[in-house]
Structures are given as C-alpha cells and as structure tokens.
C-alpha cells in the first residue's frame, strides 16, 4: 500500500442542479441511525433553542379598542363574522367594533343604566341587549337607513334582566333575572318561566351542541340546569361560593365550566354534578367571566385580580397568564371563533385584543416556515419534561400584587392543611376524613 486513497464525498454537480430557482437544494442524507449517535442531544439543543425563542416572541398583546366612556360590562361575538364585536358599557352605551381595523363602527345609548348582557342571534342579523331598565331590546347588526338605528323590538320585563342567551337554531332566547324566562321573538310575554326557589340569577347560557339544554348561575351559590322544552329545571348544584359565569364546551355536549368567586374555575359533567371533573386554579381573586375556545380544548378566564388566564380544559393549572399595567379588573372575556384571539373587556373602559397563543406568528406562513414551527412545537412537546425546557417554558413575569396574593393564598392553604393534619392526628382515626379537592367545594346536589 503505497498511497492510501480515502473516499470523500464527491458528487456530480449536474445531479444537484435545481430544476427551478425556487427549488430546494437537494441534501443527500443517510438516515442510518448508527451514523447519528447524538441525535437525541442534538434535538434537545434544538428544543432548548425553540423554547427560548418561544419566550422571546411571546408578545400576546395586539391592541386595544377604546371609546367607551365607562367600564365595559359585556361583550358579544358575531356568529358568522370574525371582525364584528359588540360591547356594552356600564353607562348603557353599546358599541359595535370592526376588529380588523380596530375601529368603532357604531355607538348608541341603548339602556338606562348598565347593559347587563348582549347576544347575537344565530343568523347574526340582529342582536339582543338587556339592561338595568328592565327592557330587552333587539337591534339590527347593520344599519342601512336611519330606521335601523331604532331597536327592532323592545320587550318589557317585570323585573330586572341580567343575562340573555339565544338558542342555536330556534327563534327563542332565554333571559335570567328573577327567574329564568324563555322568550320568542314574536311574543311580548315570556313563553315559559322556570322557577326553582331562587330569586335572582345572574348568568344564563344555552348549550350549543345539545341545543335544548341551558344552565344558569344563581345568587344562592347554585348552578341550575334547565331543559327548555317540557321538563324545565332539571338539577341544581350548590357550591361554597357563588358562580359568576358559565360557559358550555362547544365540542363536548356535556361539559361546562363555571367561574367562581372562590378564585377557581370548575368544570362539570352534566351527568355527574356531585363533584366537578376538574378544578382549575391560578387566579388570585374572584373569577368574573369564562369563555371556551371554539375547539373546546381550552378556555379563557378573566378575573378581578386584573389578569386573564388561559386554561386547558383537562388540566388544573393555567397555561398562560396575560396582564398589562393599565388593565384593571376584568369584566368579560371572549375567545374568537377562529381560535386565534382573545378579547377582554375591563373596568377601565378598554377592550383588549390578545393572541390566544402568545408567541404565535400572525399572518401567512409559507410551507417551510410552518414546517419549521411545527417541528419546533413538537420538539418542545417531546422535551417538555426536561427541567431546563420546563423552566423556560413555564416561567412568567407577573405583577407584584399577583405574586403577593399568591404567596398569601399559599400560606392560607398551608395553614388549613396543617390544621387539618393536626386535628386528624389528635382525634380518633377516621373521625376526620380525607376529602379530595374536587369534592371540597361542592355543598350539595339538589334534585
């Protein structure tokens, strides 16, 4: 062996000519795993980079819609147009917004006193508002002439109406207040009145899948289930503190989530009301509003602690928390129907737009870009349990008051736990039972 010849990579350049300018350069690869002994570490590094980049790009705040002269009390999203949003304020004004250009398209004073709730009809041509002046008004969504600016229909109720929700397909809607009432668009009196012992209800919501079911939150700390046909009220579950709002899962007919005063959210299965299937914790003050994502996998909650939290419907802890310095107490939150944005209305007269996924890139994605992002996402998922990846992915900055409140809650919880432990230690075995967290917040289920 005089002169050793080593085979080096040498390729015919003709084979590697691109057919067009836009073609990808051909990269010959050998997929033999024994040639890539370090593939897992390499992917780990990529995952680390991806998760760092995710946090770098996590800028969820898009913009705000200002114009209201009092706190925003309620929001309603148009069922078929993504850019249309209706908002009501505490001074009785209703505004319609074009989200794409972030402009107010129309504003008018609808009620004396506070606009309690708004809802669009399923066709989207009209919307209904209820206010403190005991009226239920129906308005046109689009104004063609000056006649359209007047309400299409005004119904007078005997008592204050605090909530309104529309049936998904039939021309009926439900309101709540003193009782849960069912109205038909053409009648001046309620078609049906459901009473069950309570004298004030503050939120009502129709199930969008099993269309005849509706549920309401009552001031006696209960959540009541109704059937809008023959049977009327079905069941009631009483909790420790009152529930503020309720949202049905749009993909799973029997799941709904309530936002509770005790800083938690509870997800229930209609068939098992004795205990919630999940308790979602994280807020440090009363949760005011909740809305499901149209995919039914996640929901957003707005709280009195000035933050918006996003939860996954099967997990107990929040996935993300949004806050800005100027955002005050949240009054209403909505998740847009394309699963991309979150809208929040708050005390300080602004409506804010957020991205549902904080680091998502907006706009058109080229295929290669999308592939790269998907790859990054799946890498993050794959290495999610590695401590460094987890640390970066789950770290959030929150305002100091939240942190302090969290510490306070933690100490309170620890105190309660210690006390319970002590009592258990010093009493007869079995005298103080272990109550799981899920059962702790439910007082009773009424038939």
């Amino acid at each position: 062996m005089s002169k050793m010849k080593i085979k080096v990579i040498s390729r015919n350049p003709d084979d590697y000519l691109r057919a067009t300018k836009r073609d990808i350069h051909k990269l010959p690869r050998n997929y033999d795993p024994s040639l890539h002994p370090l593939e897992a570490p390499r992917e780990y590094v990529r995952a680390m980079n991806a998760v760092k980049l995710e946090r770098v790009f996590a800028k969820p705040f898009i913009g705000n819609l200002d114009g209201h002269r009092d706190g925003v009390s309620s929001l309603a999203k148009h069922p078929s147009r993504l850019a249309v949003l209706a908002s009501g304020a505490f001074d009785g004004e209703i505004r319609l917004w074009d989200l794409a250009v972030r402009k107010c398209t129309r504003n008018f004073v609808a009620h004396e006193g506070w606009v309690r709730a708004l809802c669009f009809t399923p066709q989207g041509d009209t919307f209904t508002s209820v206010g403190d002046d005991k009226t239920i008004k129906t308005w046109k969504s689009e104004v063609q002439s000056s006649v359209d600016e007047e309400p299409v229909n005004t119904l007078l109720s005997m008592s204050v109406v605090t909530g309104v929700t529309h049936h998904r397909s039939k021309p009926i809607f439900a309101t709540c207040g003193e009782h849960c009432q069912l109205w038909e668009n053409t009648r001046n009196e309620p078609v049906k009145v459901f009473k069950w012992g309570v004298d004030s209800l503050h939120h009502v919501s129709f199930n969008q899948v099993e269309q005849n079911l509706l549920a309401s939150c009552a001031s006696d700390r209960s959540v009541i289930l109704y059937d809008c046909r023959e049977s009327g009220p079905l069941r009631k579950v009483v909790m420790e503190l009152r529930s503020n709002a309720l949202s049905w899962n749009p993909m799973e007919a029997f799941i709904f989530t309530v936002a509770n005063e005790d800083y938690n959210l509870y997800t229930f299965d209609v068939r098992k009301l004795k205990q919630p299937i999940n308790v979602h914790m994280g807020h440090t003050s009363a949760v005011i509003d909740v809305d499901y994502a149209p995919t039914g996998r996640e929901f957003v909650a707005g709280s009195y602690d000035k933050t918006v939290r996003i939860f996954e419907s099967l997990k107990g802890n929040s996935r993300d928390v949004y806050h800005t310095k100027r955002m005050q107490r949240l009054t209403c939150v909505k998740w847009t129907l394309d699963n991309k944005y979150i809208l929040s209305g708050s005390d300080e007269m602004n409506i804010r737009m957020w991205k549902a996924r904080a680091s998502e890139k907006l706009g058109v994605l080229k295929p290669r870009e999308r592939t790269a992002l998907n790859y990054a996402d799946s890498l993050k998922e794959k290495f999610a349990n590695h401590p460094q990846v987890k640390r970066i992915a789950r770290h959030r900055h929150v305002p100091k008051h939240i942190l302090n409140a969290q510490n306070e809650i933690r100490t309170i919880k620890q105190k309660a736990k210690r006390k319970e432990g002590n009592r258990r230690a010093h009493s007869k075995p079995g005298a103080i039972p272990f109550v799981p967290e899920r059962q702790r917040h439910i007082v009773k289920e009424d038939e």
Binding site: H36, E43, A253, E381, L403
Partner: protein, 709 residues
C-alpha cells in the same frame, strides 16, 4: 196558564225571600268567577267549582219509577259502581321534584349519545377544525332548474334569422347485408394482403435480430436515427405541436434510462473493461463513451432546439469529466441502491442477509417484550387478544408481518379495527400479540376519581404537564438576569485571559500516531447494527492510518494538548502566601529570604493518580460535570410507566436530519389544526351519524366518560 204565572210569581217571591234570609247571614259568599281572558297563568283561586253537578243517583231514581226503564237504571248504577275515584294529586313540590328527576334522567341519556364522539376527539392524534362533513344531499330541484335559461326575444329572433344547424346524432340503421358480394371479396383480399405483409416484416425483423455483426447493427441504428431526425425536422415545420409531443417521448426515454443500469459501469462488459482500462487507453475511451451515452440520455431537456440536436447527434463525450473512469461519478451514479448492488456479492451478501434476518427477529422479540410489559403494567389486561396458531414457525411469520404493518403505518388504527375479529377468536389460552389492545377498566374496583379524564390513552403518548406557572415579578427576574450576566462576563474575562494556544507544528512527527479502531458511542441502538456497520467498514474501506487521512490538521497533537489541559485542570496547585515586606525590609531590589518564602507556601496535597495516566491516548473524566445535572430529568413523567418507555420516546427522532421527510412531516403534525380566518362552528348533531364516530368502539374510554357517579 194562570197556574204557570202563579208558580212564576211564587218562585220570584221565594228567591227574594231566600236572598233576604241570606243577607241576614253575615258570612261572605264568593261569587263564581268567570274566565274571560285567555292566559297561561291560572290562579288556584280562580278555579270554577262545579256545584250543580248532575247526580246519577237522582237520575236513576227518576227512572226507577217506570218499569220500562229498570234496565237502563241498572246499567247506570253499574257504571257508577265501576268508576274509581282518582287519588289526590301529589303536592306541588313533590310533583315538581319527580318531574325534574325524570327530566334529568332523560337528558343524561340523551347527552350520553355524544360519548363516542367526545372520546374519539380526545384520543385521536390530531383533529382538524372546523369539522367539515360532505353533505350527502342532492341538489334541490329548484336549484337544478335555475340552470336552464329562458331565451330572450332577441335570441329567438336571431335564431329565426340564422337557425343553428341541428346536430344529428341519429345512428344509421345497419342493413342486414352491409356489403355486396364484390365488396366482400375485395375486403377479404385486402385483409389477406395485410396479413401477408405483416408476416414478411416479422420474418425480416427476426432475421435481422439474429445477425451478430455489431457493425451491421450500428449502421442500422444510425440510419434509423437519421431517418427519425429527418422526420422530426419535417414535423417541426409542419406541425409544431406534434413535434412537442415527440419531445415528450424523448423525456420518457430519459426516465427509462434513469432507472436502468444500461449505460452504467455495472454491467459485465463494463466490469471487464474496467479491469483493462488501467492499461489500455482505448478501452478507457470506450468506457467513457458508454457512460457519456448514459449521461446524455439522462440529461434534462433544457431547450427544445438544442436538446434535439444533442439527442440526435453522435454523443460528444465531455473529456474533462469523462476521461477518467475512476472518477467516482463517472463510474456510477451516487445512488444508494447502486452502492448496495455493487457491494452485494459473494460472501458479503450472505453475511448481510444473515444479519438482516437476525435483526428482524430481534426486532420482533423486542416488540413482544414491549407488549408484555404493557400488559403487566395495566391492571386488567384484556385477554382476548389475537391468539396464536399452533405451529411456532407460523406464529413467527405472522408476528413479523404485523411488525411490518406497524412500521408502514405507525398509527395503530389497523390493529384497532381488527380488534372485534380478535375478540371472536378469544379464549385460547396461549395469547401473544403485538397489537395495542385497549384495556377495560373494572368500574367497581377502581377508585372513583375523575382524574381518569386525563388518562384517556392517546395514541401518541406525550408527557402531560399540569403544573403551576413559575411566576415571578419583574424585579426578581432582573436579579436573576444580572446574576447570569455576571457569570457570562466572568467567563468572558477568563477566556480572554487564557493565552491562545499556539498552533502545533505543521511538520508531522512521524513517531506520533494513534492506532485507531472504529469506536462507537454507547447508544441504545442494538449492538447488532453496530457490528454490521463495522463489518461493512472493514469491507469497503481498508484499515486507515488516521494521521494520513487528516494530513492538514494535526489531530494527534491537539488531542494530547486536550489531555494535558484536562490533567492540569484538576491538579491542585501550591498556594503562595508570602507577603513581601512582612517582618523584613521590602522594596525594589530587596529579595525576600528563601526560608521565609518556603515557610509561607501551602503545599498542595499529593496528586492522586489519574485513571488514564498510563493508558496512552485516552481521556477519562473522573468527575461528573455539574453543569450536565441541571439538564437531567429527575423522574418519569405522567403517562409513561417506565424509564424505558420514556427513554424510547426521547430517543425517537423527529427531525428531517434523522428521519425521512415523510415520516418527519407525519410526526410533527400538530394535534389541533385550524385554518386561519375560518369560523369554527360548535359540534353539530350530524357528527353523531358520521361513520368514524359511530364506529369508534373504544369501550374503555366511553365507559370512563359515561360512568355514573
């Protein structure tokens, strides 16, 4: 008449009397209310009492007087006795409660219909929103009719002026005898002539094909080519479109050429030539010609005109490239299949086959192990899995087949679909399988915990992280960042301070060389593969002197330097604590006493021998790097049951650097796919009827969802 009037008068008087008497009585009498307004709210006080009710007894009494009516009265009495008095209705609250309870049961049942839909959407790997379904509805008649247009007046008039020719598509009736006698004879003769000519041509072609003279064939081919070229040129003038089609034919020829080995150096002829090529220039030329033919044929058509010319001309070999038959890309295309084909001969082929077989069986074994483990880990494994056939040999074959299926389609839907069939075959005691079989939980035994909602087994297991966000206020974060910054700064400073190592001498020391064996990192990939690889290397590349290979950079020196650094890094050093001027005069020109200097030097402890001290060119790191520990996972995350499973999930690569593009695309598909700007409608009732939802038979999941509390 008077009588009647009298009685009327009496009655009037009587009424007055009664009213007067009743007025004496102080009690209030409620007048009968009347309903005059239709409402759906009825007060219980507003109900009308039936006071003047017909009493059947009285009626019967009247009837009894006459014998004629005895029968009827009896009947009446019978009905009276048969009638039952309805029981008093329940109290309102009670009745309502019952109504609510029944209503709730009904809704529960109704809502339960959604179980399979929900279970499916929670367990499948990815869901696309909005959920679309193709409507099976036909077009409504009205819509269909709108497609027909009425002709306007103008159109009608125009048509009258210039009537469109009617398209006659009537078929001509075939006569019973289509041809006359003469015609038939002529036709037959024509046919016979054709056949004869055909046979002549066939015979000629056969004869020609048997001619062994190469020159003859070459000439023939050239002629043919010329002919074709002429024809093509003519065609180009006459009918450019047709010419274009011909060009496509050339493209096809190129495709054909690309997948044959005809003009490659792999044939017997080429191999023989290759041997002689070393000594014979002419042979080399021939080989190059041959290869250039292949090249020209596989060349992409760039320009119509030029490519035609090239294709038809005698191939002009590109001497700069094709002169040397040893040029690797001239010898063969850098195609993996080719490489294999070239090196697969003789005993090597045998070895490789054997290894392959071994690997396959090994794989199947490991799969079986996996399954059995899974089964053990589950509390109540389903026993009715696919039963094995009695002969072990056959079983093996089925197993490998199943494996292949798995590798072909990583989603195990196939297996699931076959599950019912497998169930039928159940109850055979020997049951091994490599299918994913869903476990059925025993509802009574399990603790009633709703955490099970999370346990819905996804087909693709991923770690579930349900933890609090690590929240901090900005101040603390800044502090952390500062710390980090400090660290990095200090590192930078350190890096700057260390003197840059001077590059090693470019002259190579002939004494310094390393004998290198191919070495493999400790991967979890089975050793078999590595062995195979080693063998392959030995075959293809003979033993290499590493120094020779990397002539440019001095690997050996740099490695030794690295080792020295490593040794020095750990070596404890003496600490000098002398303070010049302490207890003596100091300053310029004053040397501290040697005794004093020695007194204040803290001697480093004796150096422990390193493990790699006398082992030559090897570095053994004796301490764990604390920086690495930060990156290590402490415990097995939730859905995984063993370290092995989790490791396997980490080991499986996702990137297209490591796996083929298609697999890569499949693996990185997000679990929820939405379309930008598309409204996602809530679940529709039609989803219940979609076959994929109806056929979702994952009973365990459905049971989990629908379990009553």
């Amino acid at each position: 008449m008077e009588d009647i009037e009298d009685t009327d008068l009496v009655a009037l008087e009587h009424d007055r009397l009664i009213s007067a008497v009743s007025k004496l009585d102080k009690t209030q009498h409620i007048t009968e209310p009347t309903r005059n307004e239709p409402t759906n709210l009825n007060s219980e006080f507003n109900l009308i009492k039936r006071t003047n009710k017909l009493n059947i007894d009285n009626v019967a009494k009247v009837l009894e007087d006459t014998a004629h009516h005895v029968q009827i009265s009896k009947k009446l009495k019978k009905t009276q006795s048969g009638a039952k008095v309805l029981s008093k209705p329940l109290e309102k609250p009670q009745a309502e409660r019952i109504k609510r309870a029944t209503g709730y049961e009904e809704t529960k049942k109704k809502v339960g219909r959604w179980d399979p839909v929900v279970a499916r959407s929670r367990t499948v790997d990815y869901v696309t929103f909005p959920i679309k379904h193709v409507s099976a509805k036909l077009e409504p008649t009205s819509d269909f009719l709108t497609k027909f247009k009425l002709k306007s007046e103008l159109e009608k008039e125009l048509e009258e002026v210039d009537p469109q020719p009617m398209v006659e598509d009537e078929e001509e009736e075939e006569p019973i005898f289509p041809k006359s006698y003469e015609e038939m004879v002529e036709y037959r003769q024509h046919l016979a002539k054709m056949r004869a000519q055909q046979s002549y041509k066939a015979a000629k072609a056969k004869r020609q094909s048997k001619i062994k003279s190469k020159k003859f064939h070459r000439v023939l081919k050239k002629e043919k080519l010329k002919q074709e070229l002429k024809e093509f040129e003519e065609l180009q003038k006459r009918d450019p479109e047709e010419a274009l089609k011909k060009l496509e034919g050339i493209e096809k020829a190129r495709a054909l050429e690309r997948h044959t080995l005809r003009h490659k150096s792999t044939g017997k002829w080429a191999k023989n030539k290759l041997i002689r090529a070393k000594y014979d220039k002419e042979v080399r030329q021939q080989l190059a010609d041959q290869l250039s033919v292949g090249r020209s044929l596989t060349k992409k058509v760039q320009d119509n005109q030029s490519s035609d010319d090239e294709g038809d001309d005698e191939p002009t070999p590109n001497f700069t490239l094709s002169q040397d038959p040893f040029n690797p890309w001239m010898v063969q295309r850098s195609d993996k299949s080719n490489i294999n084909a070239e090196f697969n001969f003789g005993y090597k082929k045998f070895v490789q086959n054997k290894l392959n077989k071994h690997k396959e069986s090994d794989d199947s074994d490991s799969d079986e192990n996996d399954v059995s483990e899974k089964d053990i880990s589950n509390e109540k494994p389903l026993k009715n899995e696919k039963s094995t056939s009695p002969e072990p040999k056959e079983e093996k074959s089925t197993v490998t087949k199943a494996n292949k299926e798995k590798t072909a389609a990583p989603k195990t839907k196939k297996g699931k679909r076959q599950l019912p069939a497998a169930k039928l075959k159940a109850k055979k005691p020997l049951a091994t399988s490599n299918w994913d079989v869903e476990t059925v939980d025993d509802t009574d035994n399990k603790p009633k915990d709703n955490l099970e909602y999370l346990k819905l087994k996804k087909q693709k297991t991923k770690a579930v992280i349900d933890e609090e966000l690590m929240e901090s206020s900005s101040k603390t974060a800044e502090g952390m960042a500062n710390e980090e910054k400090d660290e990095t700064i200090s590192e930078l400073v350190k890096a700057a301070q260390t003197p840059v190592q001077e590059s090693a001498d470019s002259n190579i020391d002939p004494n310094r060389f390393i004998e290198v064996k191919p070495k493999y990192l400790n991967t979890a990939i089975s050793q078999v593969e590595n062995e195979y690889d080693q063998l392959d290397d030995d075959q293809v590349v003979p033993r290499v002197n590493i120094e020779e290979v990397f002539e440019e950079d001095d690997v050996v020196a740099s490695f030794r330097q690295e080792k020295e650094d490593e040794i020095n890094k750990d070596k404890p050093e003496d600490i000098n604590l002398t303070l010049p001027g302490w207890g003596a005069w100091g300053g310029k020109g004053v040397k501290p006493q040697k005794r004093k200097k020695n007194r204040f030097i803290l001697k480093a402890p004796p150096k422990m021998p390193r493990r790699d001290e006398n082992k030559g060119d090897i570095i053994i790191k004796e301490f764990k790097d604390p920086k690495l520990a930060v990156h290590k996972v402490k415990d097995v995350p939730f859905p995984f049951e063993s370290v092995k499973d989790y490791e396997a999930s980490i080991r499986a690569p996702l990137g297209n650097t490591f796996i083929p593009e298609k697999a890569h695309k499949k693996l990185i598909r997000p679990s929820i796919i939405t379309k930008a700007g598309k409204i996602i409608e809530p679940m529709d009732e039609e989803e219940l009827l979609v076959p994929k939802n109806r056929n979702f038979k994952n009973q365990s999941v459905i049971k989990l969802l629908g379990r009553k509390k």
